[in-house]
Symmetry: C2
């Protein structure tokens, strides 16, 4: 199933770790704090475990939305896509 | 149809204007840069016009994903919801 994953994470290091984790699962960045890609059920379950282990009981937030083909076809976009180049190291993250 | 709207807008004033616009259409904030809510077709079309008029040809980005009931039921969330209190004035935006 295709998923859109959006996060709202204040802590810089944690945000970088979450982004790295999403990339590890093969998701593609669609915005600064948004990723999209396909996850099998076992991958989704594993990702949720990894995210819970990262976020623990912090007031940080990740939301994952499944997106069927019909929904995906109805996607709209306004504005130009941005180019993202990140150094995904724990201690520094650059945003161009 | 229910929509998830996410934006990645660097310009502070423009970001505040986009947030205000989404609120004007009755959408609810689900993250710092994410809203959700129901839009009729005419509301969606009007919102797209408003967003295009705001963003013009800037390298700023808004994405709108329709979300059917089945997709919505599969939504997952990790972490705690944040409380957002914004002053949506053009010139200042506060994030608590």
């Amino acid at each position: 199933m295709r998923y859109v994953v959006i996060y709202d994470i204040t802590d810089d290091n944690l945000r970088a770790l979450v982004a790295e984790t999403l990339k590890d699962y093969g998701l593609q960045r669609i915005q600064y704090s948004g990723f999209m890609g396909s996850l099998r059920r076992d991958e989704l379950n594993s990702l949720l475990v990894d995210l819970k282990n990262l976020i623990k009981d912090l007031v940080e937030n990740v939301q994952l939305f499944p997106m069927c083909d019909t929904c995906f076809k109805g996607k709209k976009e306004v504005g130009k896509p941005k180019k993202y180049e990140f150094k995904e190291g724990k201690d520094k993250i650059a945003y161009f």
